[in-house]
């Protein structure tokens, strides 16, 4: 666990390099070693890039030597979910249909990380095209949960969450279409932020469901997640849905505390069956926030139970359209066949995995002529009802608190049917349907020693309040220096 101890916070890293205490090159070498020796067991990486990482570190060290002011993430070690395109680095989105593809450009978020001095260690595993809740649907490998290798890391950004939790990087970018940042963050005991729809550019994100997808950071602490969000947030003219609004200084919100903050507890999220360890952790979180002066108010989001069926019509419908581009013609894998129709059918039949095929079929069914009103339009109307629920709640409170997931991380193979797997996202989907920002922050461990996540949902573009409340939860009931495998981080003793 030497690297876990060596990886400090974003702020510490930048300060130590600026002060000349350490070079970026000296930070990157143990991280490379740790990944080379430890990732075989963890299974987080799909493309490991020590050469690129060393070059980025050398660039930071040259800036320091030249006396140039260091950018905000100088020397910060990061990984990227493999559905973010990277110039010169293989990008598969966890799918065989893109095996070996090397994109010709960087996603906007990748460009921004590079410009901010971040050191990209590589691309990490995910469910194929982001469709899954356990990373078991990757076409390439399983990723293990660092807290218990017999359990999933969550998904679809499971590689990101596992790599951060295992101390292989300080932060990672994931994407969240129905909970794919927040759910793995909860399962792996890290912080995950799903920004407001439009807050972060989707240019260069391999599309799953375009009206729901957002990129966001996963990191060990709220402050680190805030620092990364600060760099990636903001308008991008290359994304037509990017919001042109100023980005506040997130770090300024972190120390504000929760005194006087009105926090809503949506009863529909607490009335369902929760694993006892999850319920106990949430009860402690609520008590701690009340002790610190927050006003806890019960609220109702009456259409919550409709979110799951609405989501699983809208997301597959959009996916069936988005994934029509994988036809074996311009890039990716092509199957041999006599005529064009057969090239399409054979390429897609061989290249997509079972869950992706299932969702393409579901989406094609829902969008079929004569069925559109009954399925897709109906689901979009339900989406309006869900948004109205949130509008009414936010007229009374500043932020909502819920569990991120009904259970802690589950064992491999535990969800045997598609519907069981879909239910793992029951608390995270509404946020995407309504376009709101959401955050998951660790709020304790179950009796079995597995992390539990508390989810905060906020008003559009009010990420700052989520980070403020998240920092308060972290300080009161967070994991502190507890690490997977019983190891402790900087300042703690290793048992």
């Amino acid at each position: 666990m030497t690297t876990a101890a060596a990886l400090g916070s974003v702020a510490d890293t930048v300060r130590r390099i600026a002060d000349g205490e350490v070079t970026a090159a000296a930070l990157v070498e143990p991280a490379i070693e740790r990944i080379a020796s430890g990732d075989g067991e963890l299974g987080a990486f799909l493309a490991f890039d020590p050469t690129g990482a060393r070059a980025a570190a050398a660039a930071v060290d040259r800036q320091r030597a030249a006396g140039v002011p260091l950018p905000p993430l100088a020397g910060v070690l990061v990984t990227l979910k493999d559905n973010l395109v990277t110039a010169g680095l293989p990008t598969t989105a966890g799918s065989k249909i893109l095996a070996g593809w090397i994109p010709p450009y960087d996603a906007t978020v990748v460009e921004r990380l590079r410009a901010a001095g971040a050191i990209i260690l590589g691309k990490v595993n995910c469910d194929e095209f982001g469709m899954g809740s356990s990373t078991e649907r990757s076409a390439f490998k399983l990723t293990r949960n660092p807290w218990d290798p017999a359990r999933v890391p969550g998904g679809s950004s499971g590689g990101s969450a596992a790599a951060v939790a295992a101390g292989m990087c300080i932060g990672s970018l994931g994407t969240d279409t129905g909970g794919s940042i927040r759910q793995p963050a909860a399962f792996c005991g890290v912080v995950g932020v799903k920004p407001t729809y439009g807050r972060v550019s989707r240019h260069g994100v391999i599309a799953f469901a375009s009206s729901l997808d957002q990129v966001g950071p996963l990191a060990r602490t709220v402050a680190d997640a805030a620092a990364i969000l600060q760099v990636i947030a903001g308008h991008d003219p290359r994304d037509g849905t990017s919001i042109n609004a100023p980005v506040p200084a997130y770090a300024a919100a972190l120390a504000a505390g929760v005194a006087g903050l009105k926090i809503g507890l949506p009863r529909e999220y607490f009335e369902v069956e929760l694993e006892p360890g999850v319920r106990e952790a949430l009860d402690r979180t609520i008590a701690a926030l009340r002790d610190r002066g927050a006003a806890m108010t019960p609220v109702s989001l009456p259409h919550t139970e409709l979110a799951l069926p609405a989501y699983y019509l809208i997301a597959p419908a959009e996916a069936s359209s988005n994934l029509s581009r994988y036809d074996g013609i311009r890039y990716g894998v092509r199957a041999d066949a006599q005529d064009l129709l057969d090239v399409y059918r054979r390429t897609r039949g061989a290249g997509f995995g079972p869950e992706v095929k299932r969702r393409i079929m579901l989406g094609t069914y829902a969008l079929r002529s004569g069925y559109y009103d009954a399925y897709y339009k109906k689901a979009q109307q339900v989406r309006t009802l869900i948004k109205r629920d949130f509008d009414a709640a936010f007229a009374q409170v500043d932020v909502l608190l819920t569990p991120t997931t009904p259970t802690a991380a589950f064992p491999f193979g535990a969800k045997s049917t598609p519907l069981e797997m879909y239910a793992a996202d029951v608390f995270t989907l509404s946020c995407n349907l309504a376009g709101l920002p959401g955050l998951s922050v660790p709020c304790g461990l179950t009796a079995e020693g597995l992390p539990v996540g508390a989810q905060l949902l906020g008003k559009p573009l009010d990420e700052a309040t989520l980070l403020r409340a998240g920092a308060a939860i972290e300080a009161a009931v967070g994991l502190g220096d507890r690490r997977p495998g019983g190891a402790r981080g900087p300042g703690g003793a290793s048992p």
Binding site: T241, L306, I329, R334, Q338, D339, M361, Y365, T384, P460
Partner: protein
């Protein structure tokens, strides 16, 4: 109980341009049927006066200044092509004559 016929599943697979092997068609028939049955819960919701959501965050369609900007060079765009001939993507015959593919 499957709520989709085998023929419907085959039709959807063709529309989706997916070749599915017979065991996949069997599984799809059962699973899609179960999923769709579950999703019929939204059919009973009264949405007669509810507009469908078109965008989570209201915004105008953005316009940019109408001037040419650099785009991906042809060599870059073609680099990952599974089959190519010079600056062209190679595909099987699209237009068929009376005696089959020409």
């Amino acid at each position: 109980m499957a709520t989709l016929t085998r023929k419907e599943v085959e039709d959807i697979a063709l529309l989706a341009r997916l070749h599915l092997e017979p065991p996949e068609l069997d599984a799809m028939q059962e699973e899609l049927g179960a999923i769709l049955a579950h999703f019929r819960t939204i059919a009973v919701v009264d949405t007669s006066d509810v507009p469908p959501m078109t965008h989570a965050v209201p915004m105008d369609a953005p316009l940019r200044v109408d001037v040419p900007e650099p785009s991906l060079p042809a060599a870059e765009a073609l680099r990952a092509a599974p089959r190519r001939d010079g600056d062209l993507f190679v595909v099987p015959a699209v237009i068929t004559g009376p005696s089959g593919p020409s």
